[in-house]
Amino acid sequence: MPKHSTRVVSRMVAGEHILVPLASRGAEIDSIFNLNETGTFIWEKIDGQRSGAAIAGLLAAEFQVSAEQAEADCTLFLAQLLEVRAIDLEVAR
C-alpha cells in the first residue's frame, strides 16, 4: 500500500499540489515537484490504506477513462513518486 513519506512536504496551491522532499546535501535542494490535476488527485488518494489498483479505480471513475488507461497512468505516477522518495510502500497484512 502506498503512503506519503515522512520526508516530503506537500502543499496545495490554487488547486495543485507541490511536493518538496527533505534533503541532506546542497545539490538536492532544487528537487521540487509540481503535480497536475491527475497527479494531485492520485496524491490525495494515497493514504496507506488503498492499493494502487484501488486508486486507479477511483481515477478511472473521476476522469472517465478506461480502467487500463487509469491503471497505466497510476502505476507510472506511483513509480515516479517512489523514485523521488515521496511515498513509501507498505506490505498489506
Binding site: A14, E16, I18, L22, S24
Partner: protein
C-alpha cells in the same frame, strides 16, 4: 555598538527581527561598515554570545552544504552549524530548539591565520536570521526588490539571472524608486493586509541594500532573453519556483513545512510572472504593465 557588563553588544535589525550579538571584544561582533543603516540600539528577538572556546563535539551530520558550512544534530533539538576555512572548522554556532538563543564558538586564531576577526562574518549572520525566520514562516528570497508606485516588485533568480543588472537599470532609469536589495529580500506573509517586503544588508554585485519596505505587489522570475515579455504563472508554479529561491533548513521537516506554506501563501496572494528580459529599460515597462494589469 554598546558596552555591556560582559563586553560589547551589537544589534542588527532586518525586517521585524533584531539579532543581538555579544562578546568580550568589539571586533568579535563587528559588522561591515555598509551594514550601518541596519544597526539598532534595542531589541533581541535573537541573541547570541561569542565564546573564545573550542568547537564542541559535532554530533550526527544533518546537512552538507557542499560549501563552507555543515549542520549537525545536537541533544534536545539543538542545532550546531560549523564553518570551515579549507578543512579546518574555525567557528560554530550552537542554537536552541527555537533558534532564538545561541552560543558562537570562535577559538582564537593562530598567528598568521586567515580566519576573520568577527565571529559574525557572512554567511553565519544571515543564517542566524534564516533559521529564526523559517520558524516564523518568513521567507528570505534570492531576489532584487524595487519599491515602485506604492508597492514592491520582486525580481527573483539564481546567481547570474540578472538581479543586479536589473537593479542597475532600474536605478539609472527610475532613481526615485528605492531598491531594497539586489540579492536578498525578506517577505512576511503573516499580515492579512498583504505580504510585506523588506530590504536586507546582504547585497549583490550592484551593492544595493536598504531598509526600505513595502507591500509586495508582484513577483517576477527572471530569464535573460532577446526580447522582453512577462508571462503569467499559475500560483503552484510560482510557489515551487519561489521555494527554490528561498533558504530553508531543508533537513528540518517542521521548518520546511512552514517555508513551503509561506511560499504557497505568497503565490496565492501576489500575481507572479516569468519575466524574459532584454538588458535595457524595456523590463521596467513590462514589469510595471504586468503589475498594473494584475
Amino acid at each position: 555598538m554598546k558596552r555591556s557588563p560582559t563586553g560589547f553588544v551589537n544589534r542588527l535589525r532586518v525586517g521585524p527581527t533584531v539579532l543581538a550579538a555579544s562578546a568580550e571584544s568589539r571586533a568579535a561582533v563587528a559588522w561591515p561598515r555598509r551594514f550601518g543603516p541596519f544597526l539598532c540600539a534595542r531589541g533581541g528577538d535573537l541573541e547570541v554570545r561569542v565564546r573564545r572556546e573550542a568547537i564542541p563535539p559535532l554530533g550526527n551530520l544533518l546537512f552538507e552544504s557542499e560549501g563552507v558550512w555543515r549542520a549537525y544534530a545536537q541533544p534536545e533539538d539543538r542545532l550546531l552549524l560549523t564553518f570551515r576555512v579549507g578543512r579546518r572548522i574555525y567557528k560554530a554556532a550552537l542554537l536552541d530548539p527555537d533558534r532564538r538563543r545561541g552560543e558562537i564558538y570562535f577559538p582564537r586564531a593562530s598567528r598568521g591565520s586567515a580566519a576573520p576577526r568577527s565571529a559574525l562574518q557572512f554567511p553565519l549572520d544571515e543564517m542566524l536570521f534564516q533559521h529564526r525566520w523559517a520558524k516564523d514562516g518568513l521567507l528570505e528570497i534570492h531576489s532584487c526588490g524595487v519599491k515602485d508606485r506604492g508597492g514592491v516588485l520582486l525580481f527573483t533568480g539564481h546567481s547570474g539571472a540578472g538581479k543586479s543588472t536589473l537593479a542597475k537599470i532600474w536605478h539609472a532609469q527610475a532613481p526615485s524608486s528605492p531598491i531594497l536589495s539586489d540579492d536578498r529580500v525578506l517577505l512576511d506573509p503573516r499580515a492579512l493586509s498583504g505580504v510585506r517586503a523588506f530590504g536586507t544588508p546582504w547585497h549583490g554585485t550592484g551593492r544595493f541594500g536598504s531598509r526600505s519596505e513595502g507591500r509586495l505587489s508582484a513577483l517576477f522570475f527572471l530569464e535573460q532573453a532577446e526580447a522582453t515579455e512577462a508571462i503569467r504563472l499559475h500560483p503552484a508554479e510560482a510557489a515551487a519556483r519561489l521555494f527554490t529561491r528561498s533558504f530553508p533548513p531543508i533537513w528540518d521537516l517542521e521548518a520546511t513545512e512552514r517555508v513551503v506554506n509561506a511560499c504557497g501563501d505568497v503565490a496565492e496572494r501576489v500575481p507572479a510572472f516569468l519575466l524574459r528580459f532584454r538588458k535595457d529599460g524595456s523590463a521596467i515597462d513590462a514589469a510595471r504593465r504586468a503589475a498594473a494589469v494584475a
